[in-house]
Amino acid sequence: MTTIRKFCCNDLLRFASVNLDHLTETFNMSFYMTYLARWPDYFHVAEGPGNRIMGYIMGKVEGQGESWHGHVTAVSVAPEYRRQQLAKKLMNLLEDISDKIDKAYFVDLFVRASNVPAIKMYEKLGYVVYRRVLRYYSGEEDGLDMRKALSRDVDKKSVIPLKRPITPDELEYD
């Protein structure tokens, strides 16, 4: 049983069980708070019975013209609450807001090329690898830019994969 609500500052003090996961980055405060200050609708937390933080998602909406899109910056679930499709619920919520409220064309995310379980999960949720970003992670590991088209992109133009990989400085957004 899950309550999904907007993330608030206090949750930063309670999300350690999620962030101790080695693949979940703990960003600096201005990073989290910039997201809260600018895109509060894209930052949600899931709580289980007993006020336990189960996981959270943070993201934003940006871009111009047909590049106007939702972006998943981080999604993470505590070990205790894995394997019950919580990440899917959180992703659906963000997609829904991008689609219905902000009328974006697509949602995208970056994932480490080595993080096979995550890539598989995103594929199950309907994301496709749009392009490879060379040495995206700390100049070492490649990242995959994955996308899912939303209802506004009727012809699904946004998800036609690029043929060649790009470098981080070719990225339109950070």
């Binding site: 049983m1 899950t2 309550t3 999904i4 609500r5 608030c8 500052c9 206090n10 930063l12 003090l13 309670r14 350690a16 069980s17 962030n19 101790l20 996961d21 080695h22 693949l23 703990t26 960003f27 600096n28 405060m29 201005s30 989290y32 708070m33 910039t34 809260l36 200050a37 600018r38 509060p40 609708d41 709580e47 289980g48 019975p49 007993g50 006020n51 336990r52 189960m54 070990p79 205790e80 609450y81 894995r82 394997r83 019950q84 499709q85 899917k88 619920k89 807001i97 219905k100 409220i101 993080n115 096979v116 379980p117």
Partner: protein, 1011 residues
């Protein structure tokens, strides 16, 4: 040049943009030298142009040339003040503002903007800049005034909302009374009448203003009116509506609103609790205008008189019918919700005295059969178990066991089921009633289940959690219980071996790392504990919520370097955040997310008042004093940086007036050390019947923190004053006319001593009696309890004060000299006894080594400092090598006493050094053998069985079955290596401590020669 130029295209601060851009480019790419060169050229071309000056100042500040930067800024500021014709645009001012802020001179930026707004009225950009300055200074009233001016100027909704937020901040975080909210409401109403509202956040703020005044009806009216459509997400609007209805006391309407939400989000637990609470009218958490939403199901219910049994029954039937409907309609991924809801309904019935326990138990069995395989099963059902008696819990357990046998599932799920069953047994506590042997076989059983199921994880990615990781965690709980009962250290070592194996198999299990770091701390191998802590990658906000896992141990250890690193990282994080927080608040203003404005300010206050932040600041001061205590000249440098100890006093005074906050995430601690204050591994062993009891230690811990902070905040000043008192006393001996300031030191010291012992619960006279009795052996050392260090510190400071005071403090003494004896014999008693108790280290973990370390690092260090001060002030300048001859009788008596004191202290520390050397010189092989032998001692009784099971796991591992990764992980595990690592950790603790002791001996040697 006129200010209108600033806005024109192509100009920046009065300079063509193409000329400015290279400077900014250089700054952005951190080529400050080049930037400085470019900006100097620019300044030559545009001398006395404030923007060019501001740019140069900015670069100088980045280069660390703070004074130069400030002086240029001041020059620019003066120019702007003097010369009306100069350009005064936002670009210039905001550049100056950045530099002022980085130089911690927000006030200068504010006054500059204030002046500019006066000079150039009705300039919106400048007014926004001024508002921003007030946000940075948390000056809510000024913020409000400025926002209102902007609102009046342009009539924009956002500026009105800025003003309203500033009013709300005055009420929630400032000095403003609640009647200000009426003003905010009035402003909003007036604006709505003429312009309506256009932003969802504006509506949220309006409703919150009404809500804060208890005007729920009005708020509901607004929400259901035209403005309500601003909230685009239907569920969000309904949630707000439900909350307002519940607060207004309209339970029926609230319940139906929550019901609507549940139809859309059937898995929403919090909403279900609201629904049930309103439907049954038994949840009081909405009353009295409580706006924070209840998140836990109520532990008890208030039955209202107007609800008859029939009414209750019919409502609960409605609820059941509704939940059944949800269950049938729910999609696959939210079925857990309705099932839990059904459990809650049964629980509520019981609370109202009409339910049957069997029904709840049956519902739990059903829930188990469907969701028992989930890792969160036990935490899900925790609240429902609380209502059952121990016998009923046993009954439940039996039924669950039966049901698990009859269920056939895929292997991973049936493993999950088996784990939940074991976990539940631990949670209920029945395992703890088992005899030792059975308990031990249970732990062995868990390891065997783990082993059997390892192949299930063969194809998992190393990033994924493996199946059955919980089993090692549970087994470690059982082993702790066995350690408790028997006191046999082998059980703890078995846990260490087991978890190290687990981490060899998959190195990311943070749960294991946390247990290990506490066990290594307990075993005296703190360096190893610290290494594990570091692998958790605790940074940024996690430093606030997780440092408690290691910081308390480090504070009591000789590992000053590690302590210093942790404190530095943590303080940097906190200071940085407190500095930048206001900028982020302004960002929320700018992006019109007004509710975040209030939240950010409140959060900043919560961090600012953090107990850990206060402790860290105090302890980092004390650490500096400890580190330099062997050299009085260097110590004086430290005093200077700490404002002679007054800084710590101010810190505690300021913060303690406000209430301290406790932001630690305690849930992640092992249950046997629920707070940093409580560690069950230290005993008393008979106290705990069942480890899940007694978990509520938070209050005890919080009280202790407050007292401790108060005590520690006095230390730096008392140390400083001790040194002053001693040097003043010597001056008096030489120069009969003691100066006025000397007696001020003495008076202040006296009052601090009084405060210090008051925290210990007595007056100075009583305290003197206590330490005297202990020193003379009339009371046991235990009489000083856990405050031992504070008592000894008191004796040391008392002695120093007494030298400069003419009061006699000892009831049956003959002058000040006997206080020296008192200190010596007290130190001797404590230290010798602690050395005796601590004994040979390798197999005796626990509490006394930290006490010993503190005795040397604190009271002994302060006492040595006092001796240094005495020696220095009694030696005439320039004749340091020459021994002082007796000037008169009293001085020679004192010198003799002090010489005795030095000798005595020397011999006391030697006792510790001897003991430490013995420990340090133990060979690694000998220690490792000793450790491993505690795991294999007796074939008939524990410890050793779990260890055997681990060895078996290791020796029978099959590469084909487990896959290369798991197989290699298992094979790389070596108990001998683990034992060596433990020994090395202990050895490092001892040798670091030995260095500290040696340095004290060396110091005393020098002092001895000087007297």
């Amino acid at each position: 040049m006129s200010s209108s130029l600033a806005g024109k295209f192509g100009y920046a601060g009065g300079i063509p943009e193409r000329k400015v851009r290279p400077v900014w480019d250089a700054i952005d790419s951190r080529q400050y030298k080049n930037a400085l060169k470019l900006s100097s050229t620019l300044l030559n071309k545009y001398p006395n142009l404030p923007y060019a000056m501001a740019l140069k100042a900015l670069i100088l500040e980045r280069m660390g040339k703070h004074e130069e930067a400030l002086s240029i800024c001041m020059e620019a500021k003066e120019l702007l003040h003097k010369n009306v014709s100069l350009l005064m645009d936002d670009l210039t001012l905001s550049t100056l503002q950045i530099v002022f802020q980085r130089l911690d001179r927000l006030d200068l930026a504010t006054s500059l903007y204030d002046y500019a707004c006066g000079r150039i009225p009705n300039n919106l950009e400048l007014m926004m800049g001024l508002f921003n300055c007030y946000v940075r200074e948390y000056a809510y009233v000024k913020q409000q005034q400025t926002a209102i001016k902007m609102y009046k100027l342009v009539g924009e909704e956002r500026f009105l909302l800025w003003a309203v937020c500033s009013i709300q901040l005055q009420v929630s975080c400032g000095q403003g009374g609640e009647k200000l909210l009426g003003l905010a409401e009035g402003l909003l109403k007036k604006h709505i009448a003429s312009h309506s509202l256009h932003e969802p956040e504006a509506l949220i703020v309006y409703i919150s203003v009404l809500e804060q005044q208890g005007k729920y009806g009005d708020a509901l009216e607004v929400l259901s009116g035209k403005l309500g459509s601003l909230i685009l997400i239907e569920v969000d609007r309904l949630r707000l509506q439900g909350r307002l209805l519940a607060q207004s006391g309209d339970n029926a309407a609230a319940a139906s609103t929550f019901q609507k939400i549940l139809e859309m989000c059937p898995d929403d637990w919090e909403c279900f609790l609201h629904y049930l609470g309103c439907l049954l009218e038994d949840d009081q958490s909405w009353c009295n205008g409580v706006t924070s939403e209840p998140r836990c199901p109520p532990g008890s219910v208030n039955k209202l008189p107007h609800i008859t049994d029939d009414m209750f029954n019919s409502r609960i039937q409605d609820a059941s019918a509704f939940v059944r409907k949800l269950e049938t309609e729910a999609s696959d991924d939210s079925k857990r919700g309705p099932s839990l809801a059904y459990l809650e309904i049964e629980r509520r019935k019981l609370l109202h005295g009409i339910g049957a326990k069997e029904k709840l138990i049956d519902a739990l069995v059903l829930y188990f059969s469907r969701f028992g395989y989930l890792a969160c099963f036990c935490s899900d059902v925790e609240v429902f178990l609380d209502i059952l008696t121990p016998d009923e819990k046993m009954d439940l357990l039996e039924k669950l066991k039966e049901s698990s046998v009859s269920t056939s599932m895929v292997p991973t799920k049936s493993l999950g089921l088996a784990i939940s069953l074991q976990k539940l047994q631990l949670q209920i506590g029945i395992t703890y009633k088992l005899p030792d042997a059975e308990l031990e076989s249970l732990a062995v059983k868990m390891i065997n289940i783990y082993r059997k199921n390892l192949p299930l994880s063969k194809d998992l990615d190393p990033q994924e959690s493996m199946h059955g990781e919980d089993l090692f965690h549970m087994a470690s709980n059982i082993l702790v219980q066995l350690y408790w009962r028997t006191g046999k250290i082998g059980y703890l070592l078995e846990i260490v071996m087991m978890l190290e194996l687990g981490l060899n198999i998959r190195r990311f299990v943070s749960q294991y790392k946390i247990i290990l770091l506490h066990l290594y701390s307990h075993l005296g191998a703190l360096p190893v504990a610290y290494e594990w802590f570091r692998t958790l990658d605790v940074k940024n906000i996690l430093l606030e919520s997780l440092s408690h896992q290691i910081l308390p141990q480090l504070l009591l250890s000789p590992l000053w370097e590690a302590l210093n690193d942790l404190l530095k990282d943590y303080l940097k994080f906190m200071d940085d955040h407190l500095r930048e927080s206001a900028d982020l608040t302004f960002l929320a203003y700018r992006h019109r997310n007004y509710s975040k404005v209030i939240e950010f300010v409140q959060f900043k206050e919560q961090l600012q008042h953090s107990n850990q932040y206060l402790i860290a600041r105090l302890e980092s001061s004390i650490l500096k004093l400890k580190e330099k205590a062997n050299n009085i000249e260097e110590e004086e440098g430290v005093f200077e940086s700490l404002k002679c100890g007054t800084q710590a006093l101010e810190l505690a005074n300021d913060t303690l007036c406000q209430s301290l906050t406790f932001n630690e995430e305690l849930q992640l601690r092992p249950w046997w050390t629920p707070t940093p204050k409580k560690d069950y591994l230290l005993g008393p062993f008979e106290e705990l019947k069942h480890p899940m009891e007694n978990l509520d230690h938070c209050r005890e811990w919080e009280t202790n923190v407050r007292e401790n902070v108060e005590r520690r905040s006095l230390l730096p000043r008392m140390i400083y004053l001790s040194v002053q008192c001693v040097s003043a006393s010597s001056k008096e001996n030489i120069d009969v006319n003691g100066s006025v300031s000397d007696s001020t030191f003495s008076l202040e010291m006296k009052s601090l001593l009084e405060r210090y012992v008051k925290i210990l619960g007595c007056s100075v006279d009583e305290a003197v009696k206590v330490v005297l009795d202990v020193a003379e052996g009339q009371r046991p050392l235990e009489a000083l309890g856990s405050d031992l260090i504070d008592w000894v510190n008191f004796a040391v400071f008392l002695n120093a004060w007494n030298l400069s005071s003419h009061e006699s403090v000892l009831p049956r003494a003959e002058g000040s000299t006997s206080l020296w004896h008192l200190v010596n014999s007290l130190l001797q008693k404590c230290i010798v006894q602690k050395v005796r108790i601590t004994g040979p280290k390798v197999c005796s973990p626990g509490g006394d080594l930290p006490v010993l370390v503190q005795l040397i690092a604190e009271p002994v260090a302060w006492h040595c400092l006092i001796l240094q001060s005495y020696v220095r002030s009694s030696i005439p300048c320039g004749k340091k090598k020459k021994k002082i001859g007796p000037t008169d009788g009293s001085t020679s008596v004192l010198s003799q006493t002090i010489r005795d004191s030095v000798l005595s202290l020397y011999s006391i520390i030697e006792v510790v050094v001897e003991w430490l050397k013995e420990e340090v010189n133990k060979t690694e092989d000998e220690a490792v053998d000793h450790m491993l032998s505690s795991l294999t001692s007796d074939p008939n009784e524990g410890p050793g069985k779990v260890y055997q099971a681990l060895i078996e796991l290791w020796s029978t591992a099959d590469e084909g079955e487990l896959g290369d990764r798991i197989f290699q992980g298992i094979k790389s595990w070596s108990p001998t290596d683990v034992a060596r690592k433990t020994f090395k950790g202990q050895h490092k603790m001892m040798s670091t401590f030995l260095q500290i002791c040696d340095s004290k001996l060396k110091l005393l040697e020098t002092v001895k020669q000087q007297i």
